[in-house]
Amino acid sequence: MSLPKRIIKETERLMADPVPGISAVPHEDNLRYFDVTIEGPSQSPYEKGIFQLELFLPDDYPMTPPKIRFLTKIYHPNIDRLGRICLDVLKSNWSPALQIRTILLSIQALLGAPNPDDPLANDVAQDWKKDEKGAIETARQWTQQYAK
C-alpha cells in the first residue's frame, strides 16, 4: 500500500522545520521506520547526552500510536532496560491528532522530568525514591558513558 499523505506531510515537516534538539530521519527502504536522536535537556542529568531511538509507524497509524524505544542505554525510572518508554500519550492517552514531533517533544520533556511514582523500570524508580541524589548521579554517569 502506498504511504498515506499524512506520513508524507509529517516527514516533510520534520525535515524542513526540525525541532531543536531532535532529529528524525526515515529509512530509505522503509519510510515508516525512523532513526531518531534526542539531545538530553539542559539542567537535567541527561544534559549533553545524545540518545538514539527507533520509531515505527504501524499500518493503522494514526489510529494507533507510533512504536518507539530507546536504543541508547539510559538510567531513567520511566524507561526500562529494553528502552521501552512509560508515557501516557504513547498508550492510553494517544490521540490521532498527535504527531511524531509532538511525541518526540513529550519524550524530551520526560528526560527533563523523571517520574518515579509512575515507573516502568521498577528497580530504577526505587533507587530514585530512596536516594534521588545518588540516582541522578548514576543517570549522569550513564549519560557520559553511553549517550555519546
Binding site: M1, A16, P20, D60, A97
Partner: protein, 470 residues
Amino acid sequence: MKFGHVFKETLKNEGFPPAWVESAISYSQLKKCINRLTTELAAVGLTPTTLGALLKHVEDYNAATAVEDEPRPFEYILSEQPGPGSDALAHGRAARKPFHPKLLFHVSEATGELLSATLDEDTRKKLQMLAVESGISDRRVFEEPDADRKSLACHETTHVPRPGNGAPRQRPGCRTVEIPLTSDSEFFAKLAAELSGLEALQARERRDMHTQIEALGKQVAKLTDPDHRSNRKILAVWRQIFQAYVESGIFFGTTEQDHTAHDADKATVRFHEFANKIASTGLVDKLKKPENVRALNTFMNINREILQGLRFGEINRMAMMKILKKFDKQTALGVKASFPAKIEYPEFSEHLAKAVCAEVNTQILAHVPQIDDYSCPMCMDLKWRPVKLRCGHTFCIRCLIVMQNEKQHKCPLCREPTVVDANSDNLDLALAEFLKKWFPDEVKAKQKYNERMAGIDEYGEVYDGKCMVM
C-alpha cells in the same frame, strides 16, 4: 574605507527615493560639529587625553556606588526638557525634546581647588580661571566642628541644576562650574531633529504602503474570484505563489530554528530565493493574462520597498552609532556608554517591515485561502467531506468512518465522546460549498481517494490492485 564614505555611496547607489536620502542622518555635518566641539574643549585645556583620564575616574566612581561621597571630578549631562519623554518616543511622531548637554566641574568651596587629582597643571589652571570668571559661589558653607568631609553641609540657593534624572548630585562644600560649550548642543539638536525626521518619514511611508497594499488586495480578490469559472486555473497559480511566499519566510523566520525578524541582507537573499522559485517552477509563466502579471509585479515591488526601508533604516542606525562613537572618541565625554536610553535609535525599519508584512497578510494573502487552513487533523489532507462533531471539531468523513470502525469514540482534538454518534447529518454543508468553490481540484482528488478507500473497505486490498493504472 571610512564609514562616512561608505554611507554616502550607499545613499547614492541603492536607489533610495530622493526624499529618503534627504532625511538621512547628515553624517558629515555632525562630524564637523564634533570638530568644532573638540576645538572648544581644547581651548579650556580639555584635550581628549585629559578628558579620557577624567572619564575613567568617573567610571570608577560610578562602579563604586558604595562610596557615596567620593569626589567626582566632572559630569557630562544630557538632560532633556522636563516632560513625558518616553511617551513622546512611544508615539513616534511626536517631536523629540531637544537635548541640553552640560559639562559640569566641581571646585572645592573652601579652597577653590578642583576636585580632581588627575588633571595636569595647565588644565587645572585654565579650569580654575573659568571657575573664578563664573563668579563667586551662591552657596553658603557651614563647617561642622569635627570637620571631616562627610559632615560638611552645603545649602544651595541658586544655580541649582534642574531636577530630574540628569541633575548632578548635590555635593557638600563644593561649587558647580559649567564649561561654556555650544557645539555639543548643536550636535544633539541636529541629531534629535534628524531622528524626528526619520520617524515622520516612516509614518508617511507606512501610509503610502497601506494605500498600495489595499489596492493590490482588491485587485487580487477580483483576479481570483472563484465565482467566475474562468478564474479557476489562475486561482490555483496565485495560491501556489502565495504559498511559496509564506514558505520563503522573507522578513521573518517561520521555522522552529528561525523565528526572528531578518535583517536586510538575509531578507534580500530570501526574497531572491522566492523570486527564483516562482520563476523556475513556471508559476510566473502560468499567469499569462497581463493584469495578472501586473498584479504580481506590484506585489514584488511592495516587497522590494519593504526591503529598501529595512536597508535604509539599518544604514541610518549604523550612521548614528558611528557618529556617537566618534563623538566619544574625539571628546572623551562618554555619551554613548553613559546615556544610551536617551539617544536610542527609533525602531525605524523593523517596525515598518513588521506593520507592512502584517498588512500584506491580511489584505492580500487572505484573499486566497490556503489548503493548510482547511486540512483534516487526522489525514492532513483537505477536509472533504467535512463533518462537524458536537464538540465543534471538524474532520473529513473518511477519517470519521475509520475512527468509528476502530471503535475510537473520542474526538482526537478534545477527547469528548463525540465521534461515536456522528453521522452524515453532521455534514458541514456551508464549509463543503466553500471548499468546492475555492479548492475544486483538491476536492476532486480527495473524492477519488475516498471512493477508492471505501472500495478497499468493502472488497479488501485486491480492489486497490484492480484500480491501479499501470
